[in-house]
Every structure is written in structure tokens, then in C-alpha cells.
């Protein structure tokens, strides 16, 4: 059965009190819990997305020996709020020849696709909004809305820059989905399930229990996933859809104010989501070393561990952006189809053979002879 946060909470006594408070109406209580938790998670992730823009500028400034934002608030920390106010008060310009309905729809599709993935992201044991049996598959499927939003945004603006950016974005996202999905499939093989609860539960808190070091193929799969995820989120060195030196600003050239803000926010939250997925698939997720009990302090520690791993990966993504130059379109496609896809298929077959030959044991278990 699919586990949810409601079915998790219903094991405790206070759930009965709450149920009595809601007049024994199970549906309304479940809806209220989901609604509140969704508000919390979306608020948190929107803040992380906003802080992402700050971190991006601060880290890039560090890497280029500049100062970065330092006027608004201590260390420029409130720059994000200033940006938000600026975006909301800007004029919302609609190009005269734009396809109005699709122009309005495109940023929303991006944002909905990203927010829908948060439903299965494992923040801590028991506090996954819906630990679906098909968790990772759901995440891969629903995030294809982002590609659709990018493409429709490019089309609806009716401008050549947007059109080129949108087409590049869509072709890039659907191409890189293949190596990413196959790398994820290798981990699904190791875990024996697609739910995030299963995948994280099969790993341990210490590095030798992570799927990253389970076998050599999983180790390679991590890097294939990383490169593919960079391309899927349109981050440098794969930021061709918004290549500012050739396409002005790519698919969101014609967008102003908060509609542009939606695209930017979706991008930063998506980076957070792919980092979170990498952390829970390969780096042990929220596991605390040595402790497996589900009590509140442990869960707080789990949350901190998950966030730490994810934000370290987030830092690496920003670091890569300000270090590597952008690829050309043909290089982008040959990286995907000639290198990443064959390597990913090789990894998948390798993992399958490893599971059969060594009876599902990891390298550490083979060497140390125990768990």
C-alpha cells in the first residue's frame, strides 16, 4: 500500500483527539493535514528558491573575487525580498502578437510541475507527503511539465529568441530524460522498489552503506545522473535555452514581472529537487548513522541531514555554473546520445549482473564480511 503522512500520523494517539475534533470525519481531517503540510513545504521550498538566487550571486561573486549583493540587510541577505517586491510591482507586459492563453499558461505549467514533485520528496522518515510505490517514477513523469512549460513559453511569446530557446529547451529536456531515467533505474534495481521510503530505507547513514559506494556501476550512475540533471534543469554548462550571449534571454525573453519570476523560481526549486533526489538515491538520504527509531528528535536530525546533503549538492551545481563554459547545441546532443546514454545502459546492465553474481551484497559487505 501507499504510505502517506496521514497514515503515518494515524499511528499516534493524538490523531484520535484530532479526529474527534473534526467530528470523526476522516476525509476532512486528512485534507486539512495535507493542506497545512503542503503550505509549509511549498513555503519552505519557495524560500529556498529565493535564497538560491541570493546564493547564486554570492557564490559567483566569491568565485570571481567580487562582493556580490551587500546593501540590503546583513550581508545582503534581504536582497531576495527586495527582488520579490520589485518583480511584483513591475508592469506585466503582454507582447501584441503573443498567443495570450498559452502565454499565461506556460509559467504556471513550469511552477506546477516543480511543486508537484515536492509531494514525494523524502525530507525525513514518516514526513514524506505521499510515499508512493511509484515515487521516483512519479517524480520523473510529473517534472516533464517543466519541459512543456519551457516549450509553450517559447512558442507563445511569438519572438524568434523565445522560439529558438523554447525549442532548444524542449529537445534538451526530452533527450536528457533518457540517461537520467536509466541511471535512476539502476538504483531502483539495487533497492528493489520505486518508493522513496524503500530506496532510502535500503541504505544506511554511513558512507559505505550508501548506494553511491554499493558497486562501481552505481558510482558511475551518480555522475551520469548529475550531468543529466544539470541539463534537465537548464543549468550551465547546459543553459542553451536561455543562452544570454546569443538568444537575449531565451524562452523567457518576453516575460516580465512576476511571470518571469515564476520561471526563475521554478528553475531554482527544480535544482533543489534534483539535488534532493540525488541525495536520497545515492547519498543515503535522511538516514542518521546508527539510529533507526522514529521519534521526533531523530526526525529533526534526519531533516537536518537531508537538507545538508541537498544544499551541498546545490552548492556544487552553482559552482559548476560559474566554472565551466557553455556547450554548443551539437556538442550538447552528442554528449547525451553518444556518451551518457550508452554509459547509462552499461551501468544498468552492470548493476543487474552485480545483483545476480554477488547476491545483492555491496562492496563494503563483501570486503568486511558483515553489514
Amino acid at each position: 500500500m501507499n504510505q502517506t503522512v496521514v497514515s503515518y500520523l494515524s499511528k499516534y494517539e493524538f490523531y484520535d483527539y484530532l479526529l474527534a475534533l473534526f467530528g470523526n470525519n476522516q476525509g476532512v481531517l486528512a485534507f486539512t493535514i495535507y493542506f497545512l503540510l503542503a503550505l509549509i513545504i511549498i513555503g519552505m521550498c519557495a524560500t529556498i528558491g529565493g535564497l538560491g538566487t541570493y546564493a547564486e550571486r554570492k557564490i559567483s561573486a566569491d568565485l570571481q573575487a567580487r562582493l556580490g549583493p551587500n546593501r540590503v540587510g546583513p550581508y545582503g541577505l534581504l536582497q531576495m525580498l527586495a527582488d520579490g517586491v520589485k518583480m511584483m510591482t513591475k508592469e506585466d507586459i503582454m507582447p501584441f502578437t503573443a498567443d495570450k492563453a498559452l502565454f499565461y499558461l506556460a509559467p504556471l505549467l513550469c511552477l506546477v510541475g516543480v511543486f508537484a514533485t515536492l509531494a514525494v520528496l523524502p525530507f525525513a522518515g514518516g514526513f514524506i507527503m505521499a510515499d508512493l510505490n511509484v515515487g521516483i517514477f512519479y517524480l520523473v513523469a510529473i517534472s516533464s511539465f517543466v519541459g512543456l512549460g519551457v516549450f509553450l513559453g517559447g512558442y507563445a511569446s511569438n519572438s524568434k529568441w523565445s522560439m529558438l530557446g523554447g525549442m532548444r529547451g524542449a529537445s534538451q529536456i526530452i533527450s536528457y530524460e533518457i540517461p537520467v531515467t536509466i541511471s535512476i533505474l539502476a538504483i531502483v534495481l539495487l533497492a528493489g522498489g520505486m518508493g522513496f521510503g524503500t530506496i532510502v530505507g535500503q541504505q544506511g547513514g554511513l558512507p559505505h552503506q550508501w548506494f553511491l559506494f554499493h558497486n562501481p556501476f552505481a558510482f558511475i550512475a551518480f555522475f551520469v545522473y548529475g550531468v543529466g540533471a544539470l541539463a534537465e534543469t537548464n543549468r550551465a554548462p547546459f543553459d542553451l535555452p536561455e543562452a544570454e550571449s546569443e538568444l537575449v534571454s531565451g524562452y523567457h525573453t518576453e516575460y516580465t514581472g512576476m511571470r518571469f519570476g515564476f520561471f526563475a523560481l521554478a528553475e531554482y526549486i527544480e535544482v533543489f529537487v534534483v539535488c534532493g533526489v540525488a541525495a536520497s538515491l545515492f547519498l543515503g538520504g535522511y538516514n542518521v548513522p546508527g539510529i533507526t527509531i522514529d521519534i521526533l528528535p531523530v526526525q529533526a536530525a534526519q531533516f537536518v541531514i537531508f537538507m545538508t546533503k541537498t544544499l551541498i549538492l546545490y552548492y556544487v551545481v552553482i559552482w559548476i555554473r560559474w566554472t565551466l563554459p557553455r556547450l554548443r547545441v551539437d556538442q550538447l546532443m552528442s554528449v547525451c546520445w553518444k556518451y551518457l546514454t550508452p554509459i547509462a545502459i552499461f551501468n544498468l546492465i552492470g548493476c543487474a549482473i552485480w545483483m545476480v553474481v554477488f547476491n545483492g551484497k555491496s562492496i563494503a559487505e563483501l570486503v568486511l564480511g558483515s553489514h
Partner: protein, 178 residues
């Protein structure tokens, strides 16, 4: 209560968006309506408890088919299509001649009869589905069925897909100049 809500909203979404595909003049908008309709179908699968099929529906249609259709429409410039219809058969000239319409009619009749046959069964009470506790999730169950009971169909469809891949590669390959 939740299942009823899910069913009604998915059904309304499916039917209204399918009507939108037919009614709307702009072909790009039709594609977006088709997307809504396919999402509704995914919701119907989810109502039936087939979570794997629902997600596969989103994966295949939203992530692949609709984007490919949008690409095809945009690259062929199908938006400024002007109908030069004179008679009934010429209403949509790109759609074929009397033979294709004849074939369409035949397929329609067969489809109608099949549907009638299916709908006849609705008056009888269906046998209640035996819940199989052997498998922890639908994913495991589908996996077991695919590689045990239906392995031949599974393998044949993979050969079909391989054929499609090789065919696409051959068509897209640059030809030698001679």
C-alpha cells in the same frame, strides 16, 4: 468521498478537454487541450488504484507524445491552414478521399459494435475483484505478470519498439551523395 471527487474531476476534465480538442480552431490550443484530456485519463487510472499505469500515462503522453506533437505542428507550420472546402467530402481536404472515408466509416461501425457489446455487460453485476495480498504493490504485481504470464507479448513488443528505433535511425540518417 475522495475517490468520488477524484473520479468526477478527472471525468469532467477528460470529456471537456476532449471536446475542446475538437472545437478549438488553433491547432496548438488543440494540443494543449489534448494534454488536459490525457491528464484526466491518468486521473481515472488513479481512481481505479492503478498508480503505475497512471504515472506511465503521464510519463508517455505528457513527457513524450504531446511535446512531439507540438514539435511536429510547429515545424510544419500547421497554424495558418485555410480550408478550401466545396462539398461535404472536401470539408477537410488534407484528410483523404472517399476510400479513406469509407475505411473510417467501417472502423467506426466496428468500434460502435464493440462498445455496444462492452456496454451490454454493464447491466450485469461484475464479479468482485479478488484482492491479491501476495504482492506488496501494483508495481511488483505488474513486474511479475510481465516476465511470467505475459512474457511473450512483452518480448514481442520490445522487438517492435526496437524495429521502430532502427527505422527512425535509418530515415534520419544523412544519405550518401552519389
Amino acid at each position: 468521498m475522495f475517490l468520488e471527487f477524484l473520479f468526477i474531476s478527472s471525468a469532467v476534465l477528460t470529456v471537456s478537454c476532449a471536446l475542446g480538442v475538437l472545437v478549438v480552431k488553433n491547432i496548438m490550443h488543440s494540443c494543449v487541450f489534448l494534454l488536459g484530456s490525457l491528464m484526466g485519463v491518468a486521473g481515472l487510472y488513479a481512481t481505479l488504484g492503478a498508480d503505475f499505469v497512471a504515472v506511465t500515462q503521464i510519463m508517455v503522453y505528457v513527457g513524450g507524445v504531446v511535446i512531439l506533437m507540438l514539435f511536429a505542428v510547429m515545424l510544419t507550420g500547421g497554424t495558418d491552414f485555410i480550408s478550401r472546402a466545396q462539398n461535404l467530402l472536401g470539408l477537410a481536404p488534407s484528410m483523404g478521399n472517399k476510400w479513406t472515408y469509407g475505411m473510417g466509416l467501417f472502423v467506426g461501425v466496428v468500434f460502435l459494435l464493440t462498445n455496444i457489446k462492452l456496454l451490454m455487460g454493464l447491466t450485469q453485476t461484475l464479479p468482485t475483484k479478488t484482492i491479491n495480498n501476495e504482492f506488496p504493490s501494483t508495481v511488483t504485481e505488474i513486474g511479475h505478470l510481465l516476465v511470467k504470464d505475459h512474457v511473450l507479448a512483452f518480448e514481442i513488443s520490445s522487438v517492435l519498439l526496437l524495429g521502430a528505433l532502427v527505422g527512425a535511425a535509418i530515415i534520419a540518417r544523412p544519405r550518401k551523395q552519389n
